[in-house]
Amino acid sequence: MSTVDSKTVDALNWVAPKRDPGALGRLMDNKMFLVCVCLFPALGLLIVFLTYPLGLGIYLAFTDTQIGHAGEWVGLENFESLFQDRIFLNAVWWTVAYTFFATILKFGLGLWLALLLNHHVPFKSLIRAIILLPYIVPTVLSAIAFWWIYDPQFSIISYVLVDKLHWMEHYIDFLGTPWNARWSLIAANVWRGIPFVAITLLAGLQTISPSLYEAAMLDGASPWQRFRFVTRPLLMPILAIVMTFSVLFTFTDFQLVYAITRGGPINATHLMATLAFQRGIPGSHLGEGAAIAVAMIPFLILATVFSYFALGRRKWQQGSDND
């Protein structure tokens, strides 16, 4: 027989009184609703500042809009006319070449710098800070600095070579002939881009466990073998990401070229971005400018896809070991 009295039974059976949640409360309990509410700010920003401008740009590319006049839908007319325009084709070719050479140089030199910095060198943090400098300086400022360095009359390089060392007879015409101007711009871009590559690759290098190198050394691996079989595979994923970003930044470069050459001499250094601006704003043909900008998109997608699949397809990224 139970010795429990009725009061205890009451206490045992007691449950917290259920308050009927209000409409708002029920709404907040709805997971879908909550997801939507929490995503809204981010999505809103993306839509307003990314999707809308991109969409508008793509739309404009298919119209004959000019500054001051709303345009009409013209279909592919802008693209058809661009593909017969030697200046545009030259800009496409040069944008690809510029990206290709600048990226190779940036990665070669950046990786080398990162490997050096990964060793124990005196004043390591100071050196790392100094290396970041080109990246910190606003692009336009560094462009103006290079503009002086490449000046046909006041170049410091020419001054040293001609007036001080007497190694040359004439000042170098850095920006006056097509190939001089092209290599000069690549050099400026590489100078600016190295810190980004070097510092991110250095971060990647530091995540590689020293024990792997010790094990390799015990097995008698040479420095080259350690680089080839330890550093390279472990650095590949971050290399792929850095490469993607670097290619995107270089391909869409505008400021360096616009400030240093304006696309000259005679359009030899027009990038797609500078040509798009020139045709769209000073030239007032917004539709054509937008079409040039839109023509960059396939290249950018291609570059991204290449970096991700060709360089970054490592099994461990998907959760299993490397072969």
């Binding site: 001051g68 015409d173 850095f174 920006l175 007032s284």
Partner: protein
């Protein structure tokens, strides 16, 4: 009502005081005016205005513009905000205002800008005719850019223009055997050859330089009687006159200092001030940079200006950058906006401003030719007639988006640069320019 007047008059006095201190000791000349009744433009109550204009060339340009604006606000009780934007930012910002129908009420745009916005700006005919009658008429280039092409409908009020004549060193020209810049093209070539021989070469911009390269290549083309488009707007660049101009340009280029193919607008200023070149084409900024440097007093004395050689042209084969005030239809206070422009163009305000800008801007209304500024320094005379020129970008065709696009794409500049550098023969370059211009004009 009382209060507004009182506040107004105090402000007015302050404005005048500011203006007179800024102009300093320079005496005001009497500007001849006709007695004309201003158009009736009753200012809307509660009006406020926003004005967009290019950045000042020199401090007094902005200071006097602001002082005049303050004077207007005080006298009319209309607050006005003036925004100064970089030369190259002006056009994008104007485009946004036109597209969105918001933002500045008045824009002082570059030469052909109002012609892009004919649908969205107000008619200015009445105001322009009043100003023209009162101040002895509009100068040729000002009227060209102010009116819809080949009509008498005004779409903008030209404030002033800035020319780019020859800037040279007197002593070196003399050393090269000339007293002044010859009007004859052959003699001009001789002068440049001699200048090179004595080690003081000329230098003219051939890079993608909006101002200097366009003035140099415009001169080359027009002095040989060439033009990009004919009166009907048909492309006419591939003619024998152009070929002659290109051949001449190639000869001339041989005498230049190396590197002009990459020159941008500031390059010739730098080279001239560093005494590396003896002759170039520029605004008066070179002269003032030298004049305002106490260490270069002797050089300042040696600098002079002259129109570029006339060649075969019927008038001075040069053009000028004009600033042109337009009022957008989206303004809530059209009368206040027009009244502001009128006020700024009246002699009490305009002349002190013109005088303070010391020649950077030249007047658009003929009567201001009497302004004291043009008597202050005889070296400024070649800049005085900026708005009197008859050539313009897109000459001889209509001023429209296509003529602007040809300019922005450097079609003419690159034609001359390609031949000068030896990258193309004159025939090839002219054909290429024709192809590019036809593409833009859709012909």
């Amino acid at each position: 009502m009382d209060e507004i007047t009182r506040r107004g008059s105090i402000g007015l006095a302050a404005g005048i005081a500011a203006a007179s201190t800024l102009t300093g000791t320079q005496a005001r000349a009497a500007i001849p005016t006709a007695d004309v009744k201003p158009p009736s433009q009753p200012i809307e109550s509660g009006a406020t205005l926003r004005v967009l204009r290019p950045v000042k060339y020199i401090d007094p340009d902005g200071a006097l513009f602001d002082a005049n604006t303050k004077k207007f606000s005080a006298a009319m009780g209309v607050p006005v905000r003036v925004d100064y934007v970089g030369f190259e930012d002006l056009r994008p910002q104007t485009a946004v205002a036109a597209r969105t129908g918001a933002g500045p009420d008045i824009v002082l745009g570059w030469s052909d800008d109002p012609h892009l916005y004919t649908d969205s700006i107000l008619d200015m005919t009445e105001l322009a005719e009043y100003l023209g009658k009162k101040y002895g008429g509009w100068q040729t280039l000002a009227a060209l850019y102010g009116k819809k092409f080949k009509t008498d409908q005004w779409i903008a009020i030209p404030f002033g223009g800035s020319a780019g004549p020859a800037v040279y060193r007197k002593s070196w020209i003399k050393e090269a055997g000339f007293d002044t810049i010859p009007a004859d093209l052959g003699k001009f070539l001789d002068l440049c050859r001699n200048l090179k021989k004595i080690g003081h070469p000329p230098g003219f911009a051939l890079g993608n330089a909006v101002g200097d390269a366009n003035s140099y290549c415009g001169w080359l083309l027009w002095a040989h009687n060439g033009y990009m488009v004919d009166e009907a707007g048909k492309i006419a660049i591939n003619r024998k006159e152009t070929i002659e101009a290109l051949k001449y340009a190639k000869e001339l280029y041989q005498t230049f200092i190396p590197g002009v193919l990459s020159w941008q607008d500031p390059s010739n200023n730098k080279a001239f001030i560093a005494e590396e070149i003896s002759l170039t084409q520029n605004g008066c900024s070179i002269y003032f940079a030298i004049k305002n440097n106490p260490k270069m007093a002797a050089v300042a004395e040696d600098v002079d200006h002259a129109p570029m050689p006339r060649g075969q042209a019927s008038s001075r084969p040069e053009t000028a950058s004009v600033i042109n005030a337009m009022v957008f239809k989206h303004t809530k206070f059209p009368n206040a906006a027009k009244e502001y422009i009128r006020f700024m163009m009246e002699a009490d305000q305009y002349d002190p401003w013109l005088t303070a800008t010391t020649g950077y801007w030249a007047h658009s209304l003929k009567a201001y030719g009497e302004s004291a500024v043009w008597k202050s320094d005889p070296k400024l005379i070649p800049y005085r007639d900026a708005c009197a020129m008859e050539f313009y970008s897109g000459y001889k065709g209509p001023i429209n988006a296509a003529s602007g696009a040809v300019l922005a794409d450097y079609v003419n500049v690159q034609m001359f640069a390609a031949v000068s550098s030896g990258q193309a023969t004159p025939e090839e370059a002219a054909a290429e320019a024709e192809r590019r211009a036809k593409r833009i004009y859709k012909q």
